[in-house]
Symmetry: C2
Subunit: 338 residues, 2 copies
DNA sequence: GGGCATTATGACACCGGTGTCAGGATTAGA
DNA sequence: TCTAATCCTGACACCGGTGTCATAATGCCC
């Protein structure tokens, strides 16, 4: 036998037609029990596997999802944001559980990204994952909607389509962080991250943080804020610039753990003790968080559930079922840094 | 226009046959310049994308690779070994560069793993990635070879087929680690990892380590070795058991960074100072390594090159070109832990 | 034993491309 | 003007399944 076996080969050995083989292998009740068994046996013997291309072509669906991962534009080639890697893991698992394959593709957020996995029938739907400048994405989202492409996003909200978004309750997470600092009498707070609406997740985290402080009568001083994207480097430099400008604070809320880790490095360098002089709270609960010194207090997002929800919601969209907008509850993980 | 456009739709609008459309879109020199341009324009206008299933079915290749990731059996659901995640990132990028898509699938090493991506024509070849009990894998490898499945492995050697393996020079890495410790006058060494041949990578690391010590007239005391799989937990417990048995040493070589991190935790708990009392060296150079306290000295594997080599070698196999066995040079990264 | 429902199977069109082959149109050369 | 070469295009089989329809075989009931 050269090449892979086809259903015709099985048909030949089983002495039935190819149609019957196809039905038998899919356990159609139309075929006789005995025939079905014979076909299955021969298939196993020949190591036959259904040709997915032929099958997908005929049925017009691929039982495959595509994951587009947008990188922080400045991030190092070999290092990917651990939070997204964790999501990647849970999404992969969720797909497997649902019997779907997963195509993974990295995309640079700035460049024109490709979302032709559905158009080319390679995938039934698309998951978009990444921190990014989502303002730039809206035209693309619009195109996808026009083409009736099935997709869901992590974090990013698509204009008028809240059902396409799964994300952590970033606003609530920001409130948690503020509440924790207040409870520890740290009310002179700095914020590192992007508080503009270009980065809706960071923006929401900051809003929650600010609002919670306000309910306690504390205002956030704008001078104690610095912009950073979600990398250690960026957090480090933003914090250094605050220190260099002689800005004082006794607490620091970072929009992500990577930023927090960079911030702690900058603080240590300036001989500012964490948590004694400055308490630091991050966001994401990436694996590294518990290993750094001091262990990082952070707002945890449950990536396992998040991945599941993304996949589940996408499958609902594909099946044209009703989809609810999804907000996941954040959890405070108090560690040594605060 | 309902549904996706097909080449027939374009043919209709362009007033040519579908064959010509197909040729034009693939820039065949057989079609007239002007016709080609017209076809391309219409295709763009209709947002036409070649149906990959039809195309793959006809050409009998998928321009897709499959990545099977074997997990440490005991590892936590949501946490994946960061070293492999880093590999995943570089493999994805390498695939993209070569114009291939990547299917990702997690497999549990113990269970019967599925490698039917090639049989079902979903992928042209398979990349196997993971620390695992490779002894168990040999029968599976044999089956894959018999079926002429194209595959490459990270780390694992397939009987009589060194060309199917890409890995770091683990033996050389072990020597580097030993050399570094010797240079720092730390010769009373413990080893945490699996020194059996069930785990060929760890085994090679240990052999290199042992041999380098031997060339300096130092023997490794078997009592100062403890088994561990590549998790923080496992490293922690293995180290604790050494301490509990009152084993003394002034250096510790861990077969992986995760093990090293667990070992450092155990040492700290026992009030053993790192690096003053015990110098610790890990292996992999995962991202966390530089953030822990003290920063971990480790043997770095270049995951970017590794991912590229895996993809390149697999593509050579697929194209039936000559493939060389590939050993990547390890590099010592000296940090605070030694 | 004729009529009819039930069961099991085969023939065949179809999914949307790709590759081969044949042939028409155009141009060059004699 | 006729032949040959070149260029371009269309018709068609094919990849390997799936789904529909037709039909043969069997069993049941009156």
């Amino acid at each position: 036998m050269k090449g892979k076996a086809t259903s015709f080969d099985i048909a030949h050995y089983a002495g039935v037609s190819q149609s019957t083989v196809s039905r038998a292998l899919r356990n159609s009740p139309l075929v006789n029990e005995e025939t079905r068994k014979r076909v299955h046996d021969i298939a196993k013997q020949l190591n036959y596997k259904v040709d997915k291309n032929a099958s997908n072509l005929r049925t017009q669906q691929s039982s495959t999802l595509a994951l587009l991962l947008f990188e922080d534009p400045t991030s190092d080639e070999s290092q990917i944001n651990p939070f997204f890697l964790s999501m990647l893991g849970s999404i992969t698992r969720a797909c497997a559980k649902e019997g779907y394959d997963l195509l993974v593709s990295f995309q640079s957020a700035s460049a024109d990204w490709q979302a032709d996995y559905e158009d080319s029938h390679r995938a039934d739907g698309i998951i978009l994952l990444g921190y990014g400048d989502y303002i730039d994405f809206q035209p693309k989202f619009k195109t996808l909607l026009e083409q009736n492409t099935k997709f869901v996003c992590w974090g990013a909200t698509v204009d008028n389509r809240p059902d396409l978004t799964v994300c952590c309750d970033n606003y609530g997470g920001g409130k948690l962080a503020a509440g924790h600092l207040i409870a520890n009498n740290r009310t002179d707070c700095a914020f590192i991250g992007d508080a503009s609406d270009h980065s809706p997740e960071f923006f929401a985290r900051f809003q929650g943080f600010k609002d919670e402080l306000l309910t306690h009568g504390i205002a956030v001083n704008e001078r104690k804020m610095a912009n950073a994207i979600s990398t250690e480097e960026s957090g480090y430099h933003a914090t250094r610039s605050l220190i260099a400008n002689n800005i004082k604070f006794n607490a620091l809320f970072a929009a992500s753990d990577l930023i927090a880790i960079g911030a702690i490095r900058a603080l240590k360098e300036a001989n500012i003790n964490v948590p004694n002089d400055v308490a630091v709270v991050g966001f994401d609960n990436i694996a590294i968080a518990s290993y750094i010194n001091p262990p990082l207090t952070t707002i945890a997002q449950d990536t396992t559930v998040a991945g599941q929800m993304l996949v589940e919601n996408l499958l609902k969209l594909i099946r044209e079922e009703d989809v609810q907008s999804t907000l996941l509850p954040p959890v405070l993980i108090a560690r040594g840094s605060s």
